[in-house]
Point group: D2
Chain length 473, copies 4
């Protein structure tokens, strides 16, 4: 269930606005759902790039007194949840390095599938890595490239890396935004008062009042050149030759779970797409029930679609606590569950003796589903019918979703009936691949469905084994 | 609107459980919506009371490494939003003092209307106050009482104070919970493994798995006596003579806005009560529209009731950012609104060219309403019809709701039509007092409606003027 | 030895200078040797008194960014080492309270011998204490006095308290400095650009460039009245009737150990006094030796006097580490002594095969002496002759020196010969009372020698027993 | 004067002791005088190297609760004052990097004179530097060396770097300590319970109770090999071929000012050497005076030597405040000097109408000398005769002493008479080179006197200009 998949990363940048840092800060706020582990902003001030980053939420890392001291006309931000590399401050992005070409800052969303191989090679040649993040191979490739210009050096790096990257790089002179040839992760372009804005999702553009221009194409590299700091000229933008584009493979999970409901990707609104998934799910798995409810917050859109289609009242059966931070877990066995419990409270008077449809976006390990079904039953629900607005999640992702649960994917080894029994539901229905392709695939051309279907669009053979990871990085 | 009313306080206590501190911590988490300014816990350890408190959320004040070091079988917690007294650490509760009778800790929800008068008297007699909170008069009255036992001393204090108090006191020997004769604020009793639990709302009991016993009566004083620390006997409980009870005046705003939807007060569920308000509102203010939406999160229950009754689809027209902490406000005029904007984003593709019903719980100053109506229009809404699930808010509250907006209450000086124009809505309908009394008054006997009707059940003549406050406290 | 006696407190105040807070800050720096446990400053800003205090050194509690925000024309500072009351922030001074007469800040050097009795009485009458410090009885007595003016109230408090106090009080209108009738602790008056300065020692006056006026007399109360904040008039000063003065009993340990060598008390320079003690000691305890050395830093003056008189070279046999902060103590038995060892390192090449005279100011428990004698021997010293520049310390002090070691005073139960053996010295000579009286008593009239002679000038009968202390405070 | 020369760095390591981290911590305490800007310790735990470092003193960076969590049998520590590279946390040492040969930690005392040239080259080849410290070229040279073993790689790096280095490197398998061919900075070897200890000065060995073995030779590289963590075998040590040794050039300023008086270098005790300098100075610059005093603390040894030779009483004319941390500097012009003033207070009663000899170790810019001479005069001194226990400081140092004052060296452009006038002394005498060579050069063979004589033993042509430095690093 939603709690078991962790988001990857969000990137945001502004080039050519006198308040670029502030705008970047607000943009990161809007992308916070994509990563809550660390946050950072690099910016141009006094002709040089600087960076401030830290562990925690944007509001933790950037208290007002800090933001006020960061001024610049170009800024690059990142929020992170680690998919490879340990969770520690060294791995927070943007990475800012100095090489002979000068300063270079990088913020990366996605996973490079051959990072381990490249890193081994680079280290053999004498490169010293400072992080355990896959992203760091990019600055090293750039530093060692024979290319004279940074843009060329970056392009030559793109020819070596495989996998998923929606990235933004900053130099003291401008900004470069690029997507891998498959376009796994979203990245869009906007405009505000003559400045350019790049964001993982359109909700970032909305947050700063920027106008949406377009989604960056798979394989595209966009360069924004800035006048010198203080000069009055406008920034210029151009698309430059990138890595050869191939058939797009946009991560379908962006629509199922990752993206914010108010974001549009390639013109398709996420909330509306989820409602449609819910509607089709209602047709596929009809059931007699008294109420429909979703797991807050990610499944509410699909649940309301289900309720509308099924003509069953949509209800708020679970109240989510909005104030959860780092929480104490009792060492006492009998109190262990309280830390989970304070996050979700079932509405007893509503659920008592009711037949409930519980809509969720996915089942990963199944433990959260089992917990919530139990919660509803203990609150008096007579029947709990679970409906999942995506197909069974069977294959690990190598392009940016947390794969820590690899061997633990419930659907990898269990039938639907076995899962139903394991989570204690009265019935369980998933969407199937065909449904998903009908609903989303007709709106957007080219998705990566590999977590459902196992057909990886980019090879992942270089992927290190679990126990090699620590040693390598 | 909801953003303009600030909650008051929440109190929670556990007596007679070996993990009382941890339970109290989880209980405060569940009551966090009642106060986000400061949090604190007093507990019994090694025969003495201790206290830890701080500014901020429960998760800020009590990081796991702190909770682990707090052990005791009796604990008292408080979350605060200040209604009188400055916002500073000295005013955080529980107040812990030492007097000749020994230690005494106090957590208080409500406002004492004659605190200023009492304080002036006590100071004349030589008492030295340490806070600027109205609650501190209680320990001073207790300290100066001739009564031998703490219970008696507290009861004699109750004879002197006026106003609203749902309070819990702790001594090294037991716990006392009391409600003022009118019972303005909720306070309920629960039981867990032989221990007693007291909480502002039932969602606090749920959070720790305690069983609900009953709501404490207006004017009732309950005493829980504990065996000595380490002894095995069970705590005993009894109701003792309290101040003379009068006709109950439960704050109606608990149902309209304050309480969490999953709480029950006197057996009435808050979410269901709000849905009923929404249903009646739909009958009172019908309108042709394409969708119904609520202001997240407090108005969603009422909005869904409205939608069901009206047969208009219930939609998520505004997405609320869940990660807002202390936020930087740009000094640049043109960016000023961004800090507000990141909190709520309208779903353009949903709202475009639609006739929208916007349900909210109340209008206080009207500025938030105007902001949200504008937000919806800028996202393309064709019509915006505002429906408020309570009557016009005309009179300041002296019993625990923030009165900072006294002179600024929109409904105090404007007609409904004038407010409609001010907030830019196409139409505006409030519930009226009769509706409210029909819906809630039949379920529960005795509400305080003074903010709507101006008939204050307890005199407020001693209330200091704005400019006296600082001098007095 | 010196490490075993802990200093008491230092007080410093400035009235009538536009930079009073800064001056106070520098003054506290100069008095830091009198207390390293906590530091605090109260000052007048915007017509009200404020306070900032914390645990640690002046430089810890007052980082530059803090000082810069504290502006006022009147300031009162305190550095503390606790003699009664636990070591915690609540006990840090100045104490700032609000009572009906208005605000009142207090900084106190000394010990009130009847504080426990007074506190018990006050609590019975309903006073609530906030600290466990003996000083807090004073504001409570002031608050309860029937006197109209603060000065009168303070004077009436003086009639009730016994013991040692050199104190300074601040109100929004002026400053009051007072000494107890015996004048146990020093307190002097200075002048700077028309402002008045009060300091525990003259080195505080030197630190701010103030001119020394005179030592405050035993039993004297001085009042400095200030014009309103912002007004241009000069402060006025007057001596007012204080508690009846009695025969002075200035603590002789100020000369032996407490005061800084560059301070003068009643015109006698501390360094020169110590040299004289050393000279007389050389006559009293002559010995054939190769070098004379002192325990740094407190005994260097006496040691150099000894060396000059004896005609033996004065050497630096021990190097003291100047960078010792809070130090890790190894849990490993064999490494336990390292934490002590890094503080003092003997100069092997100097000590090897030498006959050494080691001068120290006192022997309290004897453990430090034994440690240092051992250190010198392990560095190769052939003989170690210990010379103490004061008589045997036999009786606990109740007037402001740490009495924690009460029962442990080496000289209380051991003869000089027994002590010599215990500390492992080749010979041991103390000054005797007659010497001390000859040297210091002729320069200043009226010392308290009670730690040497046991004749307490002020009764200490009310003194609570060790185990009562915690309960009382 | 002493305040104007800033120390460089101190290094300390322990290999093969179960409490290596703690010992290292105590060792750094003893070397704290060599650098107060940052401190750090790298250690082996669980088969991997870790590091903890921070800005500030050892006691700030390593609070007890931190030390207790650091366990290992091999540890390497560093205290730093920056001579090149900005003062910031990235530049704190030990540097810990991961390269293909594995982990590598480095602590370096000294300055590499061709670091800028090497860095430029390395960056051109694709190396990415993380600090602005000259020391970082070493790990990069090691990473790029074709050598298979770390020792060989380090030796090949030594063939490329020029300048001063007394350094210690750590790998998960052992420790390497090395001195440059000239041996500019001290570095000695000790033994403790079968473990090996390396320290900048012998006072570090004393601090942990280690036995002094010998000073490491110029050009020598020592390797200590450790058994695997947890294995019981003893560490083994061997000297391996290092860079070709040349005529030693030990920095003479170690004896004049840097080293702690209780340290021995090549068997010569620092305090005794300074006394000898003072004695010869007394012969060279005799004067009729009432007292001799030194500037605390660095000049006390020389001053006492002067006093003994001249037969003039040695006095404590200046009292130094021992509690100075980060100090507020008043923005008010008239109070500016107070921050300096609280550090040193003259003893008026001692100085009044006296003819004073003031001994100091050196004059750099002359501002401190002028300040102190003024201080003594304002305290009443009739004559102030300044005696300097070293020759005029005329040439900047490139081997590890702070050269920020390059153009500002008083003796570079002024005659002795001009300096005397500038500092306001009645007379001024320096030691001359011949004296210095006679006193120290006979005890130890081979000093670097370049700051006095300008004959640099290692070329410094690659040294970047002031304005290039920021750009390069």
């Amino acid at each position: 269930m939603s709690g078991e998949i962790r988001e990857e990363c969000g990137v945001f940048a502004v080039a050519g606005h006198p308040r670029a840092v502030e705008l970047c800060y607000y943009g990161l706020y809007a992308l916070q759902h994509r990563g809550q582990e660390s946050a950072g902003i690099a910016w141009r001030q006094g002709g040089r790039l600087r960076v401030h980053k830290g562990m925690g939420l944007v509001s933790d890392v950037f208290p007002p007194e800090r933001v006020v001291s960061m001024n610049g006309d170009m800024a690059l931000g990142h929020v992170r949840y680690s998919t490879t590399g340990e969770s520690r401050i060294e791995n927070a992005q943007p990475l800012l390095v100095k090489m002979w070409r000068g300063q270079f800052a990088l913020a990366h969303n996605g996973n490079l599938t051959n990072a381990a191989l490249l890193r081994r090679e680079l280290e053999r040649e004498g490169s010293i890595f400072q992080t355990t993040s896959d992203s760091e191979v990019i600055p090293h490739l750039v530093a060692k490239s024979g290319e004279k210009e940074l843009l060329g050096a970056l392009q030559s790096a793109f020819e070596k890396v495989c996998g998923a990257y929606s990235l933004i790089a900053l130099t003291p002179h401008g900004l470069i935004a690029a997507k891998d040839p498959r376009g796994f992760r979203p990245l869009c372009l906007g405009e505000l008062d003559g400045a350019y804005v790049v964001s993982s999702e359109t909700c970032g553009l909305d947050a700063v009042g920027a106008e949406f221009i377009r989604e960056i194409d798979p394989g595209e590299t966009v360069e924004v050149l800035l006048p010198r700091e203080g000069e009055d000229a406008r920034p210029s933008i151009r698309t430059v030759a990138g890595p050869k584009s191939e058939r797009q493979a946009l991560c379908v999970f962006e629509f199922i779970y990752f993206a914010r409901p108010d974001s549009d990707i390639y013109g398709l609104n996420v909330h509306r797409a989820r409602k449609r998934l819910g509607r089709v799910l209602a047709k596929k798995g009809p059931v007699e029930a008294d109420l429909v409810m979703g797991v807050p917050d990610s499944s509410l859109s699909a649940a309301s679609g289900f309720a509308e289609e099924a003509g069953i009242p949509f209800e708020t059966g679970l109240v989510k606590n909005r104030y959860i931070g780092r929480t104490f877990i009792s060492p006492e066995q009998s109190l262990r569950e309280l830390a989970v419990k304070i996050k979700l409270n079932p509405l007893r008077s509503l659920l008592k003796d009711k037949r409930v449809v519980l809509v969720d976006d996915s089942i990963v390990r199944g433990t959260t589903s089992r917990y919530i079904v139990g919660l509803l039953r203990s609150a008096g629900a007579k029947e709990v019918h679970v409906r999942i607005s995506s197909p069974p999640y069977k294959y690990p992702c190598y392009y940016g979703i947390d794969t820590s649960s690899k061997g633990e994917l419930a659907a990898a080894s269990q039938t639907v009936e076995e899962i139903r029994e394991a989570i204690g539901a009265d019935s369980l229905v998933f969407l199937d691949m065909g449904d998903l392709q009908d609903i989303l695939g007709t709106a957007i051309d080219g998705f990566c469905y590999s977590c459902f279907a196992g057909d990886y669009p980019v090879p992942v053979e270089g992927w290190p084994k679990e126990d090699e990871l620590n040693d390598l990085f």
